[in-house]
Symmetry: C2
Subunit: 343 residues, 2 copies
Amino acid sequence: MSGQPEGLVTLADVQAAGERVRGVVMETPILRSDVFEASTGLAYLGWKCENLQRTGAFKARGAVNALAALSRSHPSLEVFVTHSSGNHGQAMAYACNLNKKKARVVVPSDAPAPKVAGLRRLNADLTFCTPTQKAREETCAKLLAESGGADRARLLHPYDDPLVIAGQGTIGLEILAQVGGPSAIDAVIVPVGGGGLISGVATAIKGLAPNVKVFGAEPLNADDAARSFHAGSGTATPLAHRPGMPDTIGDGLKAMLSPRTFAHIRTRVDDIITVTEDQMKQAMRLVMDELKVVIEPSAAVGAAVALLPEFRDRLQGCKRVVVILCGGNVDLDKLSSDYISKL
Amino acid sequence: MSGQPEGLVTLADVQAAGERVRGVVMETPILRSDVFEASTGLAYLGWKCENLQRTGAFKARGAVNALAALSRSHPSLEVFVTHSSGNHGQAMAYACNLNKKKARVVVPSDAPAPKVAGLRRLNADLTFCTPTQKAREETCAKLLAESGGADRARLLHPYDDPLVIAGQGTIGLEILAQVGGPSAIDAVIVPVGGGGLISGVATAIKGLAPNVKVFGAEPLNADDAARSFHAGSGTATPLAHRPGMPDTIGDGLKAMLSPRTFAHIRTRVDDIITVTEDQMKQAMRLVMDELKVVIEPSAAVGAAVALLPEFRDRLQGCKRVVVILCGGNVDLDKLSSDYISKL
């Protein structure tokens, strides 16, 4: 990477986020396994456990950074709104509590009960709507308007936001510090949904350790990022999902890139690798059996790329690899039956 | 605790074990959850994650300590034998590999396939036998004899061994160091099976922090330790299981105390609390949902005592508590169906 494309999040932005989230979000551990290093032949294989993060996913970082920054720069803001009932919704509610702001979350009427319960536990103000994208956006707009307009209320997008991207990037800073510096690893593998996580992590990694590769991992059944990335250098607008897609157990990865996240990915990511549903289920079993941590299916894409032999050539010879396990919010009732492959 | 009863493991033994296992076993993290501290009203509730330990359970500590000590004190020993095909068997095989000794494990013919696979992966030498206690012990004796006698081969008991007890006790040392010293907590909750873990931990805790309570947690359906403990001060011999017992999902807790472990427990443990099967399943769900770590049912007994309101009075007013999550070796295929309660 050379130069600093206009409008992209910078290493300094991520470092500022690092100061804001320090001591608030968890410095998650990097686990290792002799068994996995033997089975893969990798010299170092670390697992950055954002599934152990507050609220069960990396999303806490972006939300905590955004709320901390905005509470200072725009003290009149009192209400934050989103229509993510998943990990970002919980993260925003958590961050609002820390900053004594009100969290209003639009929830589709078919949202799973555990997610609704999680939001209620965090004292989020919930507004139910019919489960269509149109209804969600309209309900958000209504909430913003009735909350007193732009001075008092703000939408917090799950990924298309520089403060959110910078917050997620703090994972990259932590990884480099925990492994012992920029020369201690060769690659980081990052799940890709809307692209906020990988945009931030790539900014941190390429800023501090330009020789470290950043690989995205994405479900084949939600491969808008991989298709956009491989469409050729002339493409600046990300592609939409293929017809009938997304259709994946990786429910956190169904979102599509925004022009902003794609701009980060085009310039700072080395490759995006797609993973089948069956490969995700294999990786779910391997990780939970060996590492003893609970991951959600979205976290399995990166694990599959690191663990399954069919991806070995895609690692471009990298021998010291860190995989980001992005979250652990999974329905335990469905775990054995739907999300892990049988032996 | 006052004085030093003859023949018991001492704090110095545990500290020597701490030197031997340092850098070999993992210093496992202590996790926390805002949600659990709010729901229990405890001021501090830490989760010592021995499920993340090498081989997936605390047993690695005792085996690593014993093998390190015996390899030095008895260099002629070349073969170690056990008839535990579970966590201790894997731990012994792991420790033998480190010390270039041969691990011979007697495996009942009905042992679950994942356990057998785990032992094979560690290059243990397996001998199958009919699944009775008598056949297991006889096969062990035969292996010991054919391995060249007491100078060359030794049985490594899963808990009735001072070196094993001292190794498990290193968890107690780590807890006190991690929380910030002897005055930072009020109690530690420890699962009880054969009693090796709690004997070692209580030795460390009462040695360094006599005011910190040590509570055992045991399945009601395998309550030999609780019955022995509460039988009165005249009892020096541990009681056997009740008729028809043990019958618990906590498969790691079916063993009975030995006179040695009971001697530690009588003098160094403050109470032993029993937990029903349903309470264990409730705790399995709570821990995996909130902490995002995989635990085996044996680890759920301590979690139940900390989390469920019906045990609050048993904590004797302690407000700062650490729970030892002893292991994570669970059959994922049975997790949703057999081991966690439905919501």
